[in-house]
Symmetry: D2
Subunit: 141 residues, 4 copies
């Protein structure tokens, strides 16, 4: 069991499904690291000049995933309502970064690994957004 | 002249007004630091139990401002289009954090300083969003 | 297999044992998240006034682990020689934060989880330092 | 007056000279931003393949300066004693990154701006270390 899951089980009495939230936190943290490592890998490639877009997107994706990991780990994330738009931004960046990495994956296996981390993160963000919607609906009925 | 402004003048040939962008980057960076310091100040207050909301909001605001400082410093911010929603999220968090700090400012001068940093950052984000809109309109005509 | 390990296997031809490096990166990333979540958990405790030292140490530990995760993910970490002192600082902070969390663990299970993340991270940092020493010795002989 | 200075004046009753500490915090925050922007500038250069070392060093320097800005903004920085080794690491990275940027400055003005931010940050870190030493001596006498 991940530390994120253990932490949630040790203290949070919240309406959010802890499995969904912990999966999102883990995927965000993994994606931040994969994008950071992929920047380093891109910089070691002989054709670095063709990887500029990939480099910039991975840098943005790493920074937004790092911040979103932290915000999602706090109670305000759900209570204050700004987790939703932040996670939507994060999912959009992961989707864009994943698309760019996919283009390079056939020649650069490290981009293939990064693409997978981005895709998984995008999906985990969308699952968390669906969970927020489920809770918002539940409160109205 | 700030380093952000000097950096922009040294290399970026972009349609964005460098003054508006540099002002946003500086305000974001300052706000991240002010919120981080305000968390430390809150933790030193005798009535820390009444500052919980302020603490959590300052933590979120610091993290989102740090990430937005970095993303706004890259060309992708404008080219890829996800700077706009990220800066909108950032402005919303600064507004919310500024409101909470304002409540505590009469008793806690450090919250008054943090409120000012949040208000200035919110305004600088809105100025940058207006600049993005101006450019988007210019491209259509 | 973690993304950190997959990334290392996909591109890095380095003298460092990829298992040791990947284990350190994963432990650093986990510790950053656990400390961030533990701050949020501490802020929800009724006796928050008695958790101030824990809060400040977890904030420091989260920031240093986040930076060290990123630096350790780059080739410069080993080549430039400043990974060693940074990882030493990180191990020291993890040890101090782990000690403080241990004090609160009997009353606060979330501190017990955070302590474990800190202990594992400290050990993974020490294993990586030992690997650096092994390589430095190997180059001399 | 910078927000860092205003924050320190609004709450911190500490033996550390607030001017020295605020100058270090401002220089660290500026250096983190300059290095982040310089990475983006390097990625736009026609000879990006010759800037790889500069890119990696700026990435490391940005991350370590971001973390050190945050740690230096907290009281633990002085009380716990691990600010000193962290700031020493930070000064060493700024020195190394400044040297690399200096090499490229004649051809790349943005590297010249980044070099200045690194030099100023290194000096501000060394001034803060001297202030710590002064205080340690004062306590012994």
């Amino acid at each position: 069991m991940s530390y994120a899951k253990q932490m949630l089980e040790s203290y949070r009495a919240s309406a959010i499904d802890a499995n969904v939230l912990a999966a999102a936190i883990d995927a965000l943290s993994d994606c931040a690291q994969a994008c950071t490592a992929n920047v380093d890998a891109d910089l070691g490639d002989a054709d670095v000049a063709s990887m500029i877009k990939c480099l910039r997107l991975c840098l943005d994706c790493a920074d937004v995933c790092t911040a979103t990991t932290r915000v999602a780990s706090r109670k305000t994330a759900y209570e204050e309502g700004f987790a939703r738009p932040l996670i939507e931004v994060c999912a959009a960046i992961c989707a864009r970064c994943g698309d760019e990495c996919e283009r390079h994956a056939p020649m650069h296996p490290h981009c293939g690994v990064c693409e997978q981390a981005c895709r998984r993160c995008e999906q985990a963000c969308r699952d968390l957004l669906a969970e927020y919607s489920r809770l918002a609906t539940a409160r109205l009925t």
